[in-house]
């Protein structure tokens, strides 16, 4: 009897493992086996400096390498390949939206808002190639991004409706066990999901889930819902890695200045040159 029971539970465990592996999420996270250290108020501690380590900012879907925008900069700024972060690799565009996406892709090296140092929106801010810092308290969780001083305040006390649309949206957060769930609304239609023209409307609604999977790695998932652009919700997921170096720090990347010549160069007085002091 004992042996049979043991082999039953073993079978169940193996089945869970199999299902978990097929879905692409490691069994450890699936079973929520990792219990993160707690903050003083008893919540999973997400404080730290984090960064994605993938090619999602170039293209959130699986993609091969391709030429960049500049012959002169050649390999430095070619588009690197990536296996994609979209679950199922399919973005369910509505027909009209798909046409727009194709246009965006064709004009990506001109139309990507990141080129002008515009705010990246959610979820793109979390997989930019720059670190961001989470500062966590009972009242609020601040996410401060190195890119363009972008910042999000997640209200942890009282969920409220976005009073107005913004680039970085309006974030309400709560805990579900080991997971921080952030509900983001009030996003405007001006950001892209990546440098390849994947985009959305102002009906975008993002639900994020942040779960520690080991001391220095977090699982980040975002469910995208936008009935004006997509036929159904879809999901991205990726790990976020902790910057463990002792001198890790969010530094100043005020890229607005680097976009000035692009934005206003045609309006400058003839004979004057680009700003020699940019970034100093």
């Amino acid at each position: 009897m004992q042996t049979r029971l043991r082999s039953l539970s073993l079978t169940k465990a193996l089945a869970t493992l199999a299902v978990a592996t097929l879905c692409g999420i490691p069994a450890a996270a699936q079973n929520a086996a990792y219990r993160a250290p707690r903050t003083a108020d008893g919540k999973p501690d997400l404080n730290g400096i984090w960064q994605a380590l993938n090619a999602a900012n170039w293209d959130i879907q699986a993609h091969g390498a391709s030429a960049g925008p500049s012959f002169a900069l050649a390999a430095d700024f070619a588009v690197p390949p990536g296996p994609g972060v979209v679950e199922g690799n399919d973005i369910p565009y509505l027909p009209a939206a798909l046409e727009q996406r194709k246009k965006n892709l064709a004009n990506r090296f001109k139309d990507d808002p990141e080129i002008k140092c515009y705010l990246p929106g959610v979820p793109r801010a979390n997989y930019m190639p720059y670190p961001f810092q989470i500062i966590q308290s009972q009242k609020n969780i601040l996410m401060a991004y190195e890119y363009a001083n972008a910042v999000r305040n997640v209200d942890m006390v009282k969920a409220s409706k976005a009073p107005v649309d913004s680039w970085m949206g309006w974030s309400n957060g709560h805990w579900e066990g080991e997971t921080l769930v952030v509900d983001v609304t009030g996003l405007n239609n001006k950001t892209w999901f990546d440098r390849s023209g994947n985009f959305h409307s102002d009906a975008l609604h993002v639900v994020e889930r942040y779960t520690m999977r080991s001391p220095d790695v977090m699982n980040y998932e975002a469910t995208i819902e936008d009935p004006k652009t997509f036929s159904r919700p879809w999901k991205i997921s990726m790990p976020l890695y902790r910057h463990v170096e002792k001198n890790a720090q969010i530094l100043e990347f005020k890229c607005v200045e680097f976009a000035e010549e692009l934005l206003y160069g045609s309006l400058r007085k003839k004979g004057t040159g680009p700003n020699a002091n940019a970034g100093k």
């Binding site: 989470i134 009242k139 601040l142 401060a144 400058r268």
Partner: protein
């Protein structure tokens, strides 16, 4: 409690948050004398450090420098302070040619006037502390450098974006220390997490992230508009030491040798006490200090997407090019009577 006792109790740190909208003045809290322990009153975070978190305005009716006619008077009486605040909030905006009123840029319709919002008040006669209450004069070499910079830009104010100034370029507004009373939406958010305090300025959504471990500054070759801040707790006070400034934010003529030390503590449930000391040996002979109240506001901060909506820059530059095409020297300031 006798009036004299009240007066002496608040004379040293009489800080009050006033909501002009409420039409009443909140009673000045009977604050402990300097040196007395404030630990009993100061709330703490779960980590056990003072809780300074929340939303505040740096907007205050206290002038940065002491009006000349007040001479060496560093403090008002509570009654004088109340009268000064009232007068300050009731002051009408200038209405001559080229002023905001003249071009119908009515701040009041957006709820941006000082008398429509929370302001911090104090019995101090100026933010700059000390017997003079004024910023010390710049050293001659510094004045020469400033004059040379101004001269270099004269006639070139509209050449290109780099001549317009960091705010119009949407690069930098006022996020660097020391915090000063800005114009409208002069709001900040203080967030606290394990080992860090973050101060976010609403315009232009800049966040200073301060580790509270008193760690070493970045190498001196790293220069940032917001500087590099390192903090630690001294009892109930957060002390922030900031260096590594770029010379481009230039607080009151300072350059990259600027060194700012701030002290932030809770004055009462509605107000933080904010003190700063400014040192720049190539600009001022000695350090000078300031103190101002940070009044609690409801918050939250709203997004100020500056460059995303920067119409001012292309309009000013193209206007200048249009002037030049007509043979006129572009000089927007002349229209404002400057």
């Amino acid at each position: 409690m006798s009036n004299r006792l009240i007066a002496s109790a608040i004379a040293l740190t009489g800080l009050v948050a006033v909501s002009a909208l409420a039409q009443t003045q909140s009673k000045p809290a009977l604050l402990a004398k300097e040196g007395a322990s404030k630990t009993a009153a100061a709330p703490k975070t779960p980590e056990g450090v003072p809780d300074l978190s929340g939303f505040y305005t740096t907007s205050t009716t206290v002038p940065f420098e002491r009006p000349k006619d007040l001479g060496a008077k560093e403090f008002f009486t509570p009654e004088e302070a109340a009268a000064y605040t009232k007068k300050s909030l009731a002051a009408k905006a200038p209405t001559g040619p080229g002023t905001y009123a003249d071009v119908h840029y009515d701040m009041a319709q957006f709820g941006l006037e000082k008398d429509q919002n929370k302001v911090g008040t104090s019995i101090r006669t100026s933010i700059v502390t000390g017997p003079e209450g004024r910023v010390p004069p710049q050293l001659p070499a510094a004045r020469q450098r400033a004059a040379a910079k101004q001269a270099a830009n004269r006639g070139h104010e509209f050449d290109g974006p780099e001549n317009r100034g960091l705010p119009e370029q949407c690069i930098y507004w006022n996020g660097a220390p020391p915090m000063t009373s800005g114009g409208y939406n002069s709001n900040i958010q203080i967030s606290q997490g394990k080992g860090y305090v973050a101060i976010t300025s609403e315009m232009i959504h800049e966040t200073r992230i301060i580790p509270t471990d008193n760690s070493a500054h970045l190498p001196s070759s790293m220069k940032m508009l917001l500087g590099d801040g390192r903090g630690h707790w001294e009892g109930d006070t957060l002390v922030i030491d900031t260096t590594n400034f770029s010379d481009r934010s230039s607080f009151r003529g300072s350059d990259e040798n600027l060194h700012v030390v701030e002290r932030i503590s809770r004055a009462n449930a509605d107000t933080l006490k904010y003190e700063f000391t400014v040192t720049d040996p190539t600009v001022w002979e000695k350090s000078w200090s300031g103190e101002m109240p940070l009044a609690k506001i409801d918050g939250p901060l709203f997004e100020y997407a500056c460059t995303e909506g920067n119409y001012g820059m292309p309009n000013n530059l193209s206007g200048a090019r249009a002037d030049e095409a007509k043979g006129k020297v572009p000089n927007g300031r002349a229209a404002l009577g400057e």
